[in-house]
Subunit: 342 residues, 2 copies
């Protein structure tokens, strides 16, 4: 009896509420498909005023339409992913580009990655502070350099060399994010810890991501983020790390993650999903669920969007909610925010 | 006939000479085991004076002994990996710590990572310029922060906060490495390309790495490097990227890679080996060979050392040689440099 009780308690401790939405594609591969996320976390209907909810639903719908338009007219999955993420970077609603969270030093340091499923090419940047659209810089790293990942001042020097649009760092500032940093700094002071650890209630990971399948059957994945409020020491999270926060291969699937980045890195979440599909023949939903379960076992939260080469979709998360949506050729786009939303 | 010819040519183009050494452990798990590498590349007996070869063999032997001593007396695999890599960082023979290659700007920017197979914890740093032993800073990131990866000036600020020994950047300078940069800059000028692409003959990836299994059955992996000669823009390679150049899990194996980092990132090499072992039940040698074959298909070169939870070893590379060695409880340590070395 004691053993059973202990088992129940352990399972109870480990399990976070598992949420998922999946969509089985029709027998035939759809002409094209696109999935997005705008971050996961403690996103509850009770805490969100209706007008805010509408703002988010509208932004997610516009993001989907931006990418869909490109795919419908025969554009590449890479183009669709970049344009969709660019729209979400420009929106102050999400923690990416304008509206990014603040570092300990009161700066906005942005990470982004882009991966091409056709040739496994990658471009990623970490810790840029003046590049208006980090996803576009990631694309330039992919296409105009033999390298994969550039960081901080180095990445910014590359942006300058590439003639990219630079902005004043103040461009990214949103008052509510600044306020979040001040609250975090206060809490840190009280705890006298060198590091601020988020609590369950303020874990909102506003990272944005997009995965797409184009008419040629090519997959692509992209992710962009401001990281975590109050991050320090040039901290790099999972978004720009291939295999952790971003992955795409035409062999299997395209993945973009959002959540407590450190745990997504340690579990190599994005590639793990692809590996389970390739090596264990898991369908996309089962692979996504297994990967998020591993993150949950470490008591961390977050989510992933996954699109496989046949157009099947998984949107899996273990937090209360995740801003998400998908669009499939010939169907009405779907946008969801909260858990268990029909 | 034409088809067959084309097939042969394609295979011929794709295939680089596959080299491997593996060692099947006895039925029972050995008390402890340690494997190291000091980089892979165009390492040929014809091009290496005997006294230089002796220097390398001596250094590799001392490195093995350094770690073995710790494991034999019941120390942890983490301690053994850090001490072994620290020794190789201090040796000017290898491209890590003292003796690192130079960046385009004539600096030494160092990357390192450490992973604990027991709890999947990780510490990594990228682009530090004044930390004498980057592997020790990686350990501090793992143990004294909730984060995984710190970059450049940020990582250095963390080192200062942790009271680490900082050195004048000149400490890392070795004349032969400086000369390599000058040669690369000249070649770049001739080619009028913004990026220097290594040629087959000067691809030497001197990264160092160590994987260990201790008496408690815990695996650990570590990697440290100066990256690639003439690297620019804060380029981060595979060494500090979990799943690419470094990985360890008690479930499967510990891996450290060396080679053309971009291709190890794109193929998520280190975790791919673990995934093939876990999901496909591949023995360690088969998994290592399959992963390096993928890198070879992209016409890139390099190698990996892998140690599984039962003490089985793989040292796989597709370059002419790889500095490597292993030490198993109760057996004489083995050191090798060239391909097909008995």
């Amino acid at each position: 009896m004691k053993k059973i009780l202990r088992f129940v308690v352990v399972i109870g401790l480990f399990m976070l509420i598992l949420q998922c939405s999946s969509r089985q594609a029709p027998q035939q591969r759809p002409e094209y498909a696109l999935v997005i996320h705008g971050g996961a976390g403690t996103i509850l209907k009770n805490n969100m005023p209706p007008e805010k909810e509408k703002e988010f639903r509208d932004a997610l719908t516009t993001a989907l339409r931006t990418g869909e338009k490109i795919l419908a007219t025969g554009g590449s999955s890479l183009d669709a992913v970049v344009a969709t993420i660019r729209f979400m970077e420009d929106s102050p609603l999400f923690n990416a580009g304008k509206g990014a969270v603040f570092t300990h030093e009161g700066k906005n340091e942005l990470d982004a990655a882009l991966m091409n499923g056709a040739d496994l090419n990658v471009g990623a940047v970490a810790g840029v502070t003046r590049v208006k659209n980090p996803i576009e810089l990631a694309r330039k790293v992919m296409e105009n350099s033999p390298h994969v990942l550039f960081a901080r001042d180095g990445a910014e020097a590359f942006a300058v060399e590439q003639g990219m649009e630079l902005v004043d760092p103040n461009y990214f500032r949103i008052e509510s994010r600044w306020h979040s940093l001040q609250k975090a700094l206060e809490r840190e002071k009280e705890k006298k810890s060198a590091f601020y650890r988020g609590t369950k209630n303020d874990n909102k990971f506003g990272t944005v991501g997009c995965v797409a399948l184009d008419k040629m059957g090519n997959l692509a994945a992209g992710t962009s983020t401001g990281g975590m409020t109050n991050k320090r020491f040039g901290r790099i999270g999972d978004s720009p790390i291939v295999g952790a926060g971003t992955y795409a291969s035409n062999k299997t699937c395209a993945v973009s993650a959002t959540g407590w980045g450190e745990f997504f890195i340690r579990n190599v979440v994005a590639y793990d999903i692809a590996a389970m599909m390739e090596y264990k023949n898991f369908p996309v939903q089962k692979a996504a669920a297994a990967a998020i379960e591993k993150v949950g076992k470490m008591k961390a939260s977050g989510g992933v969007i996954v699109l496989d080469k046949n157009g099947n979709i998984a949107m899996q998360f273990n937090s209360a909610g995740m801003f998400r949506g998908f669009s499939i050729a010939g169907e009405k786009p779907v946008v969801k925010i909260f858990g268990r939303e029909e």
